[in-house]
Every structure is written in C-alpha cells, then in structure tokens.
C-alpha cells in the first residue's frame, strides 16, 4: 500500500491513487455516483458520533464500564461465573476460530467442524441422548425450541405445555413468545418444597399435554429427586419430557436418557464463558427419533474424495436457508464460538475434573448453608433437599435490606422473597466465602 489514507474507516485500505484508479475502472467520477438512492430519501445529515483513535476508544469503553462496582458475585439462578482456565481464552481467541464464518465450505473448515463435532459428542455423553446440535442462543430459547419440536412431532392435537411454577420468569416469557405463533399454551404445575410436586403434576396431566418441562438443579438450587417418575408420568400421558440442566450438573447427576428425557435443554456456557451479563449457549440434545425435526446446525462425519474421514454440516434440508417457512426453526447464526469455548473448557477439566467440579458444587453449597444456618437471624437452606451450587436462605431482616448491606460490604446476592435471599458458590473462592459468612453475620442480626 502506498500513499496516505484519504478515508474515514481505519480498516478500509484504499489510498487516493487506488481510489482514483478504481473509479476510473468502473467509469464513475465519484463514489457517490455509485449509490443508486433517490434524492428524497438520501440521508444528508450526521449521526453526531465522533470518530476516535483506537486508544481513545479503549479509554472510552474502559471509563464507561469502570462505572460498574466490583462485587464478589454469589449469584446464580441459571447463570454462573466459574473460573475459566487461561488455555480456553488463548486457544479460542486464535484468529482462525474467531474470524471464520459458518462452515458452508467444509473443505477449508475441518478444524472448526471437528471442534463442533466434539462439542456435540460431549453433550451426547453427558445426556445419554443420541443427538446434540451445535448450539442455540441460551437455555430460554432452547426451551422454546423444545416446545415447538414437541408440537411438530406429537401426532395428537394436544396444546398444553407444562412448566414448573417455580421457573425463571425470563425463561417462561421467552417460551411464551416462542409458542405465540402456535396453538400451544403454557401452564404451570405445582412445586413442593423446591421440587416437583408429583401428585400435583399428575393431576394436571392429561392427553392435551404435549410437553412437561422440569429442571435439575432447579432455579432454587435443589436437585430434583424423582426424575424417573416425572419421565414415566410424561410418557404415560404421551407427552414429551424436556429436562433443563447444564454440563457441570450432568457430570454427576442422573443421565437424562436414563430418566426418560426426550430433550435436554439448558445453558452450556456454565463452562467456557465468564458471567458476560447473561450471554449464553443453549444446549439442545434429543433422541435420534427426532433427527429430522431438530432445530439448528448439525455436524456429521463423511468422507472426502480420497475416502478419508471428513466433517461437514449435514441434514441442512431442515434449515431455513433451504426449507424457508417450512424449516424446523429460524435459527441461523448460533453460538458456535461459545460452543468451542465450552468444548475446550470441558477438555481441560477432563472427566475427573468435571465430576470433581460437580461434587464440589454439592459439598460447598451444603457446607456454606450449614455455616449460614449457624448465624443468628439466618436459616439455611430453607428447602429440605439436596442442593447443587446454590440454595435459598431465609433472613429475619427484610431481604432487600440484607442484600443492600451486603452490597456495601462488596457482595452481591439474589433477593428472592421478602425474607429470602439466594446464594451461589459457583466460582467463588473459599476465602471469599469466609469473608461472606463474616459479612452476613454482621448484617443479618
């Protein structure tokens, strides 16, 4: 490149000479001549956005985000900030991973296709189901896709989707939007002490139900104890059993395939992503019975012209770029790079590391609950259940006041009731938990 830049974008490389030569080649006097826009709608104003140098832009973002307070986050409820090994960042940030597009030309995308194939394989092992797609946006959208899948594959005219009465409102709302264009309605079944009220579920089950959704661990951190029975009840009613979970929990808890799950959804970004203000990675696994109805992209094995193993996106006739309004889903751009991060993180942990992390989620939550229960003015956990990673504690003081006082001391917890706070140990180092116990002792009285 020669000469000086004459243009505004620092990433557009033309010099004045280039530009002149190019305009000449296309037989135009100015670039504006190439814009075929009627005069009455041509924009001649300014956005009023000042250009900055790279250094100034970094300072701007740093200073804006610098307004965030630094807190030890004991927050969970579906989104977790585990420690991420450095290897994950360094490998996933390799430019070929970051700057490639969807693998529509598999011959030059073998590396990413293999990584996604390995991600799918990870989920197959964790769920025991035969198929996993290579990502949806997050747990809530995966739940929505599960409902529309149930609607497509179930022959009967049923239209009720059952979800637990204790469910993140955000997930329920997202599900409601996903099914708004169908004849499905979302209804609740009761919860008893944090877990599914089996008798209550049974009462509301009938042949009009197309899908039963349950979570383990639940939004309150309890481990669902009767998954097989829930699966059986759903099967008896000829309804889809959709189970919400995540890769760390699935490393230890019952295999979804063994409890009759037809679909597993959840957020896989529990591995590989920092808290990221709720950015996620929707996991979606199901039985091979529904192979041709699965939403999203699938990577499969094939052979190349020399008969060597090769990977490719496959079964694309389900997808919207081919099937348009008859596609199984509108999902196109997905969370592929996050899936890569999750796969790398899982590989760094290995099976022993995954199980260990899951075991610690149980023992550390139980230990912390026990310590909090010893504090005057605190009872924990409030549910007489096994817990995973988080639990609800009741506080004698108003929960909002306790949370505010904790904020002042540098800790963030959820307020989930007038006198209930929720606490999550995921990713929080032991020393921080010690400090938290001391802080709660100070403010709970």
């Amino acid at each position: 490149m020669h000469g000086s830049h004459t243009t505004g974008s620092p990433y557009a490389p033309h010099t004045a000479e280039d530009r002149t030569a190019m305009l000449e080649a296309v037989d135009a006097e100015t670039v504006e001549d190439l814009f075929d826009i009627p005069g009455d709608i041509r924009f001649d104003g300014q956005f009023g956005i000042d250009a900055r140098t790279e250094r100034e832009t970094r300072r701007l973002v740093r200073s804006v985000l610098g307004r965030n307070d630094d807190r030890t986050e004991l927050l969970g409820r579906g989104h977790y900030g585990y420690y991420i090994p450095s290897l994950v960042d360094h490998l996933a940030d390799r430019s070929e991973f970051l700057t490639s597009y969807t693998q529509y030309q598999p011959e030059i995308s073998q590396g990413f296709l293999q990584a996604l194939f390995e991600y799918q394989s990870l989920l197959v092992e964790l769920t025991g189901l035969e198929i996993a797609n290579c990502s949806i946006y997050d747990a809530a959208t995966a739940l929505g896709e599960a409902a529309t899948l149930a609607d497509r594959v179930r022959d009967t005219s049923g239209h009720r989707v059952l979800v637990p009465e204790l469910l993140r409102e955000e997930r329920r709302s997202t599900l409601a939007n996903y099914v708004a264009g169908t004849d499905l309605v979302v209804e609740e079944y009761p919860i008893d002490d944090g877990n599914v009220d089996l008798a209550g579920l049974e009462e509301t089950l009938d042949e009009d139900v197309v899908m039963v959704y349950a979570e383990t661990p639940t939004v309150r951190g309890t481990i669902e104890e009767r998954l097989s029975e829930i699966g059986d009840r759903a099967a008896d009613a000829d309804a889809f059993f959709v189970l919400g979970s995540d890769p760390i929990a699935l490393s230890l808890l019952e295999r979804p395939a063994d409890v009759g799950a037809d679909v597993v959804v959840g957020d896989a970004s529990v591995l590989g992503l920092p808290t990221s203000y709720g950015m996620g990675l929707g996991l979606f696994a199901t039985s091979e019975d529904y192979l041709r109805q699965v939403p999203g992209r699938l990577v499969g094995v094939s052979e190349d012209a020399t008969d060597r193993r090769a990977f490719t996106l496959t079964l694309q006739t389900r997808e919207q770029h081919i099937r348009r309004e008859r596609a199984t889903s509108n999902i196109c751009t997905n969370q592929a790079w996050v899936a890569l991060r999750t796969a790398i993180h899982a590989a760094v942990l290995g099976p022993s590391g995954m199980v260990e992390l899951a075991k610690r989620a149980v023992t550390r939550a139980e230990d912390l609950a026990e310590r909090l229960d010893d504090i005057v003015g605190v009872q924990a956990p409030i549910h007489d259940r096994r817990h995973f990673r988080e639990f609800v504690a009741s506080v004698d003081q108003p929960a909002s006041a306790v949370a505010e006082d904790l904020e002042q001391l540098g800790f963030a917890v959820h307020v989930v009731g007038d006198h209930e706070i929720q606490i999550c140990v995921a990713g929080v180092p032991d020393e921080e938990l010690d400090r938290f116990v001391a802080a709660l002792e100070e403010v709970a009285r």
Partner: protein, 507 residues
C-alpha cells in the same frame, strides 16, 4: 504477482495464498476420543469393578447420580496442540479474502476483543442496577447510536442474532396489530429473493407467508405487491439494497402501499453495510428493523456465532418492544453523572432471551461504532460499494442485474456454481455464496466488503477468471489442495454420524 493478476495458466500451486494447515503424516487430526478416553465410575464403590478408569466417591446417594462419565483426559500441552492444529485447518477472514455474499465478512479490529475482555464487562445479569451503571450506560449509548444510524426512535438490544431480531420484529408487529383490534391480520409478504430466515421467522410467529416475485429488473414487482396486499397483511419484510445488491428505488411508494392497507414495513438489516450515512431505513418509511451488528459493525463471526440482532422501531411500536430496555433518568445529584435504569415498555411482548442478549457482541459493536464515528461509518459503505463495483468490473462472469451496491450476483452460466466455489478454494480464496438467490441461474453472490485492497480485488478477480476458463472435469475434481478434498455431503446425510459415540457404533 503483477497488478494484472496471475497469468491465466497460473496453477493453484503457484498461488500466493496458502491455507495454514498442519496435517501429520498426511492424516487428519485425530478425535479427542481417539487419544485417551477415561471412564470415571461414580458411586459408593461397591459396584466399582469396572476394568478401566477410576472410581470416585459421590456426595449424593447412588439413585441421584449417573453411573459413570467417559470423556477424553489429556494434558494441557496435548490440548494446546490439538486445538492449535484444528485452528490451522480453518480459513477465516484473517486468512484471506472472504467475499461471501450477504454475510458481510469483514475484518474485525483486535482491540474490540480486548475491551470485551475487560474484567468490568464480566458482570452477572442479576446484579442490581445501581452496581452496574457502566453496563447500563453502554447499553443505553448503543441503543442511541443504533437509533441514529437506522433513523429509528427506539431500540432493543436483546435479540441474540439477526433471525432472533426478525422474530422480535414479527412479534412486535403482531402485538401492535392485536392491540389495535386488528388481530385478524395473518399474512406476511416476503420477496422470493429474501433471506430464508425471513420466511422461517414469519412462520414461527404464526403467519402465513405470501411470496412476492421480483420484476424483470430484480426488484419488487409493484403490481405483484398490489395484488398481494390486503386487509390481512400484517407486514412486508424487505431488505434494501436487496439480495441482488439493488436498491429498491420505489421504496417510498412501497411504504405507502403497505401503510395504506394498514400493514407494517419491516427492514432486514443484513445489507445495511451498503447504506451507512447514505440512507436510513427510518427515512425510507420502514417501521421496524433489525441490525446485524456482527455484519455491519464487525464482530468476528466465530464460525457461526454469536451475533446480535438489535431491533429498532418507530415511536408507535416502542411500547411493544421486549423488556427490559434501558433509559436515562435524572442525574444523581451527588455524583453529577447520569443514572441509568431498566424499564419495561408499556405493552411489552416480554422476553426473547433468558437474560439481555449477547452482551459481549454488543460491547464490540459499541467500540466499533465509537471508533469509526460518522466519517468512518460513511466511508465503510463508500468503500464497500466501490469495491463491489470494481471487483465486478474485473471478472469475466456475467452479472445480469445492476446497478448494485455492496454486493453483486454473477452467473456461472454453463458451469455449476457449487463446483466453481470448490475450485476457487484451490486458488486460496473463500468463494462467494452460491446458487442463491435463485433469480440468477448458477448464482455467485459476491460481497468483497470495504476491507479489501485494490491488489487483493485484482487477485480475487484473477481467481474468478482462472476458474471461468476451466473445464468441467477440473471443476468437478476440485478442490485439490485443501485440508480435505471434496466432501461427500450425500453420505453424511444418508448415514448421519453426529458424535464420536456414533462412530463407535459404526465399526
């Protein structure tokens, strides 16, 4: 290589481009599962008589746990090599030109990765408003930027991808009509050449799709539109420039026609890179639009995502947007800085994501827009349009429609466009999008974006032209010098093997 590009007899081996790759002994990288699979048996240990792997004690009773977990167990150095090798078998925009039409594959500045990785960007979505004022301020400022750029009154940042944005637009339109007692509107009109996601998003929203043919010049056929419009029309979805790169010059009239029957005009932002600073969807009469911020404003595509698909609307539709949005409230009298809060629009459709969307992508978008400013954004479009026109001028394939903006659709004519693409891989470049839109036979949909230099465009044209001169046998045998040779798609679909577990079943 001269400015004229390679000689016509240039063989692939002489190409300057070469994909980075490392293939050991001519073999492909083995799967993790082929390296070292370890089974961990979980439980009390009583039935831990498995002949392989270890047993671990569980803090839970056996009936709440799985029996075992079997995954690869490798050392960190082994993993570093595994994934590094995988990365060497991938072609990205940093590897070479990537003129993939409609996908807007442009260079992503590296500093945006660094700002997205700031520790202060990593906050939990359930933090209190008061403690994440920085996050809320960034979201607020980005809403504002996007509103100005699109000519829209209100913006939601929640949709995690372009198709998710389309779905939000459809849901907002439905809620608006419902609110006005016009819930009977059950049709969405979409040009035949539109992105497949438009159709799928409208169908997901419960609408019947009315397909609209193009006229002889590749634009919306106004007579056909007139015939398609009715009191059942909920919306017309349109991108402008359209997928042929052509500006819908009749857009004002189209908007009037749609509005006259009470429908809404939806703008698919996939091609917004062509218009920055030249025209705004809001000024053209669009009521609702999505922005593909990962295209227009550069965020690495990451092999298929994450992206983000913010949606902008005119005032009338703002009450229906997803919740929460962010607004500024009176300045904190003590600090003197503006205070930001989340709020729920009055008739909100609720949520379309479990939290607030793909935040890290939004940080990069904000940084990119702030870096370029008015002049840079306008120049991005100018250079993108100049590049498309210059490249088109240099290639021998016929381009049936014009004048185009940022992308053009050439026809491979007698050649098979998919084969042309495979052969282009041998020349070390990523091929255009093929066989779409179907209006053009054997379509080669090409979008060089603003980032390619004149030299690179000359070389790209030379690759096109070299392939144009080749015979079918050569094309069908391509690619020859890629990591994998031509891959059998049919066998992959006929005998789906979608996990390493399925490979074991196979043998």
């Amino acid at each position: 290589m001269s400015d004229d590009g390679p000689d016509r007899d240039t063989t692939p081996a002489q190409s300057r481009y070469d994909q980075a790759r490392y293939v050991e002994n001519g073999e492909y990288e083995s799967l993790l599962s082929e390296k070292d699979l370890t089974r961990i048996t979980i439980g009390s240990g009583d039935d831990g008589d498995s002949d392989d792997g270890e047993t671990t004690d569980s803090p839970l009773p056996d009936d709440l746990t799985r029996d075992s977990l079997e995954l690869p167990e490798l050392s960190e150095p082994e993993l570093a090599r595994h994934y590094t090798r995988l990365s060497q078998m991938i072609y990205g925009i940093d590897s070479g030109p990537y003129p993939l039409g409609s996908c807007t594959m442009k260079y992503n500045p590296k500093f945006t990765e660094d700002v997205a990785a700031l520790p202060s960007a990593a906050v939990h979505p359930d933090r209190t408003e008061a403690s994440v004022q920085g996050t809320l301020e960034l979201l607020y400022r980005l809403q504002d930027y996007l509103g100005r750029i699109g000519g829209m009154d209100a913006v939601t940042l929640q949709p995690p991808a372009g198709a998710a944005g389309e779905f939000v637009g459809i849901r907002v339109a439905a809620a608006y009509h419902e609110h006005n007692g016009e819930g009977h509107r059950n049709e969405v009109i979409i040009p035949e050449s539109a992105h497949g996601t438009n159709f799928a998003s409208a169908a997901l929203g419960g609408y019947d799709v009315v397909s609209l043919p193009s006229d002889d010049e590749g634009r919306v056929d106004l007579e056909a539109l007139e015939a398609a419009l009715s009191e059942n029309t909920a919306a017309l979805m349109l991108t402008n420039p359209n997928t042929l790169g052509l500006f819908e010059r009749d857009i004002t009239e189209i908007a009037e026609m749609v509005h006259d029957v009470g429908g809404l005009l939806y703008y698919d932002g996939a091609n917004l890179n062509a218009l920055l600073g030249r025209a705004r969807p809001g000024d053209m009469g669009f009521d609702v639009m999505h922005y593909n911020v990962h295209k227009t404003f550069a965020t690495p595509h990451g092999g298929g995502g994450p992206g983000a698909g913010p949606v902008g609307v005119v005032d009338e539709l703002a009450p229906f947007l997803p919740a929460p949005r962010v607004r500024e409230r009176d300045a904190d009298p003590k600090a003197g800085e503006p205070v930001y809060e989340r709020f729920e629009p009055e008739h909100t459709i609720g949520k379309v994501h479990g939290f607030d969307g793909n935040w890290l992508v939004l940080v990069k978008t904000f940084a990119y827009i702030a870096r370029l400013g008015d002049e840079g954004l306008a120049d991005a479009s100018a250079s993108a349009v100049l590049n498309a026109n210059y490249l088109a001028e240099g290639i021998d394939y016929e381009i049936p429609y014009g004048p185009f903006h940022h992308e053009f659709v050439a026809s491979a004519g007698e050649q098979d466009a998919a084969d042309v693409a495979k052969r282009m891989l041998d020349y070390g470049v990523h091929p255009p999008t093929t066989k779409w839109p179907e209006i053009v036979p054997e379509a080669l949909m090409t979008e060089p974006t603003e980032i390619e230099s004149k030299d690179t465009l000359d070389r790209l044209a030379a690759a096109f032209n070299a392939v144009a001169d080749e015979d079918d046998d050569t094309l069908e045998a391509a690619p020859e010098r890629t990591t994998a040779r031509r891959i059998d798609q049919t066998s992959a679909a006929r005998n789906p093997r979608l996990s390493w577990q399925a490979l074991e079943d196979d043998s």
